[in-house]
Subunit: 327 residues, 2 copies
């Protein structure tokens, strides 16, 4: 587990935007579990962070100066240069967003990468069909909470697990899941989770959206129906393990049950799925079927704290750091 | 691990075939790893064997009497009533085979269910494409040896593991794999297997055909390339485990590498794939691309020994029990 002291807050001077460039003041920056993987020095689907260099991540901000750049002063933009208050850009990797259509922060959550992750995971990776029963772990997080509501909007039965009574209450009251449970209050180990699932989905589950790994995955394998699918989205339970975690001891069940487990990275699907995602989400938001909540930490100096809080489950909904005012 | 004493050889009288029935004398019966699963009293894709009742399994035999039944005396037939010398049948579940086209025993191996398992696993489950690199474990067995040769016929690079120097030699000399290794002679544990794979497939593997589970699966996950696929066919390494086995500790790699692991049961695909399988196999046999070998144990009294030998790796190629003469 990283410590706050592993992070350094550096004060540097921001250059003037050169010709064709803009200066952006960040408003919200995202902290996401996947960033933990970039803190190992190893080859992966995104390169590791470098010591002494700024971290990166999703952020929304305002253009505050332009030297003939591709955006106007006042424009709200979404990009990947979080973990800083200001930056200069030629516009590559930046996309203009509409703060009238949705709050700026939502473009980092339900309407952004986490929402698209839920969408791709359910529709493409797990091939979810109406009427099926879905189990979502980490269900009160940025991805999980959207996954629950997409599944509900598709006419599925949703069982959700989260790590506190408050989260469970939010899932039942706001996200509209059919049943939610506090996994910390279930019986011990995989057996406790299996019992919690069996009680809430007595006919088994057809799809498991895995944000957690570990015992959750094992319990889901136990309860999956014939030809069930697992979308392997994240395994936050083990990102900080010093020793190799135990794998699912019952993976052999996948043979007889003809299960499919499929890992995915949302970026690969972004181009193909974003248009449908945006259209579907706009409709679901308009119909009142899609709600989200955020846990906002103020000040870039507290960004490490917000990030580390993800692994303690401090967040209800999307965890964000507000690094400046919206307007 | 079952013991020979867990089996009983019962002598019963065989009834005369009734109207519309035939009497079949079995020639070869199959012993297969999947039968171990039917020795647990639990729900599964095939019902458990019952104490005091004859076991079942693939067998080929000769019709020796017919009372207006659907086959003629002398016909060779394939069915599922193995583990016995004779049986009476109304023909349901029996299929006439042509012993001129291929040896009777081959209908229980390369040209039968094990061969179809290899075919479906590679083509449908793993979506193997020409030019890819495939790793097959348990490669000298009935399924693995066909999988290796189908992959070669498709223009793939094949790395194979087996449990003895004799099997490795057969794979290299007869099955024509690009590289084979004796997993018992690799370094210890998953690390030894990873090193063996890295040496023989330095650019990684695209498809893993898993007959073994355990450390083999873990090593394959380590060496799989981006968007690699695993056909989960069998996990013979752990069928007799008294305690739950350890699962693959590195399953989280499936996320970043976007891997798909898919379990399957060949029976689900038999109807759809058998015509293509038969046509492709006939062509490959004709082209000299498909070879097989058998380990034949004589006498139904030695059937338990043959079955138990599967878990010790006693067989090179298909393990069969000869319960009577061919003609």
């Amino acid at each position: 587990m990283p410590q706050a002291g592993d992070f350094e807050l550096a004060t540097v001077s921001v250059p003037e935007p050169g010709p064709g460039e803009v200066l952006v003041r960040n408003v919200y920056m995202s902290v996401d579990p996947y960033m933990r993987g970039r803190m190992y020095d190893r080859p992966s689907y995104v390169p590791p962070f470098q010591l002494g260099q700024p971290l990166e991540g999703g952020a929304v901000g305002r253009v505050i100066a332009s030297n003939g750049g591709p955006f106007a002063v006042g424009d709200a933009v979404l990009g990947t240069q979080g973990w800083r208050e200001h930056f200069v850009s030629d516009g590559r990797g930046l996309r203009k967003i509409d703060p009238e259509a949705a709050p700026m922060s939502a473009y980092l959550g339900a309407l952004g990468m986490p929402g698209l992750t839920a969408y791709v995971g359910l529709l493409e990776i797990a091939a979810l069909a109406p009427g099926e029963t879905v189990f979502v772990s980490g269900a009160a997080g940025a991805v999980g909470s959207v996954a629950c509501q997409i599944a509900k909007a598709m006419g599925c039965r949703v069982v959700a697990s989260a790590g506190s009574a408050e989260k469970v209450a939010w899932l039942e009251r706001e996200a509209g899941v059919d049943a939610a449970f506090d996994y910390k209050a279930a019986g011990p180990g995989t057996r406790g989770l299996v019992a919690a699932l069996a009680e809430r989905a007595p006919d088994g589950i057809d799809v498991y959206f895995d944000n957690v790994g570990g015992e959750h995955l094992e319990a889901a394998l136990d309860r999956l129906n014939l030809r069930g699918r697992v979308a392997l989205c994240g395994m936050i339970a083990q990102y900080n393990d010093a020793a190799p975690p135990t794998g699912p001891r019952n993976l052999a069940l996948a043979i007889g049950k003809q299960l499919t487990l499929r890992g995915f990275i949302v970026s690969r699907f972004a181009r193909e799925f974003t248009p449908r995602f945006v259209a579907d989400m706009a409709r679901w938001v308009g119909e009142g079927r899609m709600r989200w909540t955020e846990t906002i930490v103020d000040g870039i100096d507290r960004a490490p704290e917000a990030f580390l809080g993800l692994f303690r489950g401090d967040n209800l909904g999307k965890m964000l750091v507000r690094v400046g005012p919206e307007a």
